[in-house]
Amino acid sequence: MRKRRYSPIWTFLALLILALFLIFVVYPLVLILYKSVVNPADNSFTLENFTRFFTRKYYTNTLLNSFSVTVVSTLISATLGLVIAYITRQYKITGSKWLNICIVVSYLSPPFIGAYAWIQLLGRNGLFTRIINQLFGIHFGGIYGFAGIVLVFSLQSFPLVYMYVSGALQNLDNSLNEAAESLGANNFQRVTGIILPLVLPTVLASSLLVFMRVFSDFGTPMLIGEGYRTFPVVLYNQFMGEVTNDSYFAAALCVIIMAITLVFFFLQRYIASKHSYAMSALKPMLPRPQRPLPKALCHVFVYLVVLVALLPQLTVIVTSFLKESTPGIFTTELSLINYETIFSKNPRIIPNTYLFGLAAIALVVVLGVLISYLAVRRKSVITSTVDTLTMLPYIIPGSVLGICFLYAFAQPPLALTGTAMIIIISLTVRRMPYTIRSSTAIISQISPSIEEAAVSLGASEVRSFGEIMLPMMMPGVISGAIMSWVTVISELSSSIMLYRASTQTLTVAVYTEVIRDCFGNAAAYSTVLTVTSVLSLLLFFKLTGRRDISV
């Protein structure tokens, strides 16, 4: 077959994008790899940083700690997510539409906000702690360390599994259920023999996403971990610490955590490729009738879990309107003092958040659509390379990306440290893989002959892209952009590394206020963030007419 010749503009665009990725992804990564194995004294090769890490119990213990909180949280998240997704898809749960929104909202807030809110509730001086201690006359010291971290991560991550599994269940054709029934399967046999195996790949894939998120999150263990040190905490301290600041050792830590996420990334890919069933439901599952008792139990369970998952958000919103007597201790007096403080203290924080978020979204959408178009419709060595490179940020934890950027762009010609630009770029890079994946899915659903028809009618390639492909892709792209927006404004781990006072964003402000025990301000900032997320989410549901989302 003769290869079709495409307009050179695509090659030019592909090369341009490739150059951008080489500068902003590959170069920082290579630099950090280099730093991790170089001896600063004489620029010779050394593995000293790695041997130092793996031979000291202090460091290896943090890895073990990280793995145990991550494994336990992931297991709990997966179970909760799977069970709730199954119940809400298979039975009629009153108010399931609002439950769904609540679950998504509880997922969208950054995990560390959950950590600090749970300290308010179950910490040493927490509301629930005091109630429990008074009721039972005990001295419960609050939920810190392992239990606290697991609590926060589980509640914050099960929505991800829920969303994925719920989507998979929706694609499960009801005739599979009916076929099983007609072959004599009872309810238990049907669920264990048909439904579970079919959604298991989705459960595993989403669990691994949870695993990677939880493993590389440092805000939560930082706040609620106390003596329980996890790997990202050590990484953060190593880098930001005032006592020790060995950037070469920090680089080695970055490499170690990337190696781990890389392993899990490929594990996820392997599982996904081995057990993926292309399912599309002609007739999705219908709600089954239930007897009153099981029905009541299902309702209680789902509502309870969602309520507990939402508690941090509710706590934050309520406390944002309370006055503090001393820092960290809320009175019951209602006031707007916290809001007055945050608006007068650093008025740039909220505009910053919106501005950086919107700029990053604009970049992500334009580049994402172009890259996926090139990768799907203009396959070449260059576009395939770009496509592979764009997956890299997927495995780079946010804090590592922040560190990479700091090392890479500290001096001319690309002295970006401290600028708004570096934050926008880091947000763009972090979000890119998700946008490309969803755009690729959108493009694959549009038949190539549509474009060929446009060209046959006399449109140029660029014109057919602009007048035919883009408008067709727009609905999907816009809904993807709203989801990107919501995740970008709640990003903490790379911004926290890169911010200056002038480039603070909401999440950074919440974090720094929490660290300073200014819980009132933190609550006010978080509330602004939550309100923004919820409004964006409602806009998303309104625009798309959908009830489910994919992140």
Binding site: D173, S175, L176, E181, S182, Y277, A278, L282
Partner: protein, 359 residues
Amino acid sequence: MGVAIHVDNVTKAYGKNIVIQGLSAEIKPGEFFTLLGPSGCGKTTLLRMIIGFNTIEAGEIRVNDKVINTIPTNKRNMGMVFQNYAVFPHMSVRDNVAYGLKTRRIPKAERYRKADEILKLVKIDQYADRMPTQLSGGQQQRVALARAIVIEPEVLLMDEPLSNLDAKLRVEMRNVIKQIQHQIGITTVYVTHDQEEALAISDRIAVMNDGVIQQIGTPKHIYQRPANEFVSTFIGLSNLLDAECSGNVLSFEGGYQAPVRTLRDNVAGKVHVAVRPEEFTIHPESEAGIPATVNSSVFLGMTQHYFMTLNGGKEIEVVENSDLTDIIPDGSKVRLQIVPDKVNIFDAEKRTSLIREGV
């Protein structure tokens, strides 16, 4: 030996929307019974009531005189083949087929032996270890069929099983289904909207429209003696002509008269005459007949089709077996006569057949 199914005065309603009201039918043991009708006529609804996916609001369904209304689907012992096959994507072909035996707690060796036997019967034993995604549509449908019959169900139900296949495969598979059904002698209820498929495969057909069975009969009977105008136009092609009937003579426009011997007693007044394209004969303008003008013609090898307009402006289709004479040119004026014994005559008001029983 198959079982008999009695559908007795059943009603299906979704809330206030009644889909089927007071429908009755009797399906004989070992029979291949087809529910045929346009989409939305209630045929699938009825099938799903028989297997138990749909509740029955009133009336009852009996299998061998046992009422099954409240028996859950998984205890009914009926096999079903679905329109989209519904082959379990995570199981191999053999495991798919053996699944129904597994739920019946049949030992592993035994159920694989039986599964392999059936796979041979439907001629896909060479794919037993494959996953469904590696099979074509036709092969997947064979898996679905094997899976439904391996449990030795009392009744086999099929919901448009061939509609996702291409035309050639459809013909091949319907012969497979017919042959296997015949071989194991199982009572089968088959749903389709494809009349040719229904004619080819069924022992008897129930033609449905708007939730009502219009006629039940053998394929030949339904085609040749439709009970009403709906059946006559839905099965095959019928040209409906206005005529006046008196004393067993039909009078058409233009004065053409044809005596008929098939009418019931005392039929008189306005009637509709349903003439299939092959039930016309074409004559020169000088002879008696209904005046018509040839618009266009299509030569299909075995047959010669003419599209004509009657004087009143009605468009009709006429078919002749092709012979060596010249094709009548477009624009020609001709006269059409009917084959009186073959045509069907309907009451112009009630649109039901006026043909005597048994002719």
